[in-house]
Symmetry: D3
Subunit: 136 residues, 6 copies
């Protein structure tokens, strides 16, 4: 059984790898490399897998799950600049892929009922990523 | 190949385990334990897995699939109180998890082309569960 | 200029006019008259009309608007039974129309920047009502 | 008859009035005043009002309408920092209200079939503004 | 008070004015002039305006409204070719504008509680039209 | 890590197997067998699975992925009649299942970073199919 909570946050970011020059970055990231940044309304779906507790009828208390996601992710990234404001994203190029993996790393140890199954991150209504901890 | 039908129903429910006292229920279920109930517009996605029939180009006739879901689930839960009105939910705490499993049990034997792959149940736009028969 | 905030709540209700007998109610309200109730995820859009303040660039501070809607409507109706639990709905048949008008009456006096322009209430993804204070 | 085109763009912004000090700005704009910015996926609905042309069956050619919106708004704001990168927003605090009015001013003179009726701008799924040229 | 019902249908169409030659039609309608047609999932929102009936709490019974829309529009256009299959569209170029007006003409005389206020027709998620009977 | 791009197209189609007579086709496909066709706004989600490139932070450049989908699928099916206009669909009954498999066959060889993981095709808001190459 998988239970999923959906939360949102809004943030600015710039895609740029400082190890490479402006030409490389413009070629790889296009307009996402704008030095003054751009931004998104991100949607995050956090899924936990586990057995249904016979007494509560729940895999994990949804309030507990949402509190974990708010405390460990949303409150630290909402209304921020992802390149500059977030401690656990220092040195991370804030692509959707890297964000999903970083969010997973923040969330996985904090899920104590069931286990973290999936982090789905929508950057826009036209693109999203799914991470299930495969590279850990 | 997986084919999915999306249907909706509206129902009232109360989360409460009668084996426990009011304090336990309030602590576990919070405002979902309101004795006079609350309610939701549920969205159910029913997925069937199978091979494409070469003659019809279909895994299962979508009309047949929807008829099964309507007859075995929607018509029995729509505009009801899930705690009191539904025969196959007697004694079941109507959490999204328990509902998804109960709907699976109603649907799985009735799918005769392909096999039931997944029941996804959205309780609100902010939470959902997925059940694939794992505990059966 | 019109600014709109979107909020949600979940509630149970039953459509029934106690002045009439069971036959009348069943004929008028159909399955919505189920004595044990059913429920919905309601979506409310509250719109305020006014001039843009030159200093703030805002018609009304969205946080203020949302706080008003939460305090005067959402916190009093969310996870309730609309027929029994809500003081300002005593004696009101909780149709979408009556709810929208009752919410308007709760909100209009509390909007102090600009004026309340519209309450849009979605009961399901297939039906909604709009009220703009016409009958007041 | 009103015809509406829906387009999207992503941008960073900061809400801050440089005429006032940090305290005023923090009190008025809260976390939207983050100096390094945040961002949104904006959705813009541009509506044109007019009569149906009897020969074409159209109020305005949708391709023409979309081209105007792309050329005069989307291409100039997408993947930008609204505080710094956009010529027609110099000196404008980029609230949704001010953006909608600025977009109206860019669009109104360029609509040559029918007349601009409404600019609806969604900043997030929870808030939006509507401008119909009232203050012009 | 305005009440709105949302319904859907799927249909094929081709935009072409037989009074003009192929060049004119290609220039005006582009790929929408494909001789073998293309198609859409249309969404129709039908709004009725009226006073709330004190006995029922309703402007119009939603079931009655939906039945009217189904009988007079949906059942006649769903899974059809709009250029060829629909009696009340004979000789009408099936642009969204012309469809909305034709649907209005079918619906307005059939609304007996309240009056028809608006027909909103979405052709795709990116474009829609609104008709309120202005040219009648 | 899985990355998904969402694109849309509009097309007409008719479900009919020419090997069988009119009765068989009407029984199997119902109103979808209308000889003059009907149509849909299709939504396609194309998912690619792979490792995050450490230099770019991406599994695959989203622009590259979208270009592949546009060139190999969207540009060939948008605003067409799927039964008649599309070379790679000759002889294919255009059910959602057959379309998803045909799109997979067009896309899989063209994905050069990561591998094609899934094609999800929504025909309407009420039904969709998922194909992951199982029968290849």
């Amino acid at each position: 059984m998988i239970i999923t909570a959906r939360l949102t946050f809004s943030a600015a970011h710039r895609l740029n790898n400082p190890k490479y020059d402006a030409d490389w970055n413009r070629r790889v990231y296009g307009k996402c490399d704008n030095p003054r940044g751009h931004g998104h309304n991100y949607v995050i779906h956090v899924s936990v897998k586990g057995k249904i507790d016979a007494e509560t009828g729940m895999v994990i208390d949804l309030k507990v799950l949402k509190d974990v996601v708010r405390r460990r992710v949303i409150d630290r990234v909402d209304h921020t600049n992802l390149n500059e404001d977030v401690d656990f994203l220092q040195g991370v190029i804030p692509t959707a892929e890297n964000l999903a993996r970083a969010f997973w790393q923040q969330l996985a140890p904090a899920i104590t009922e069931g286990t973290l199954h999936e982090v789905l991150l929508q950057e826009t209504e036209k693109n999203s990523v799914v991470y299930r901890g495969e590279d850990e």
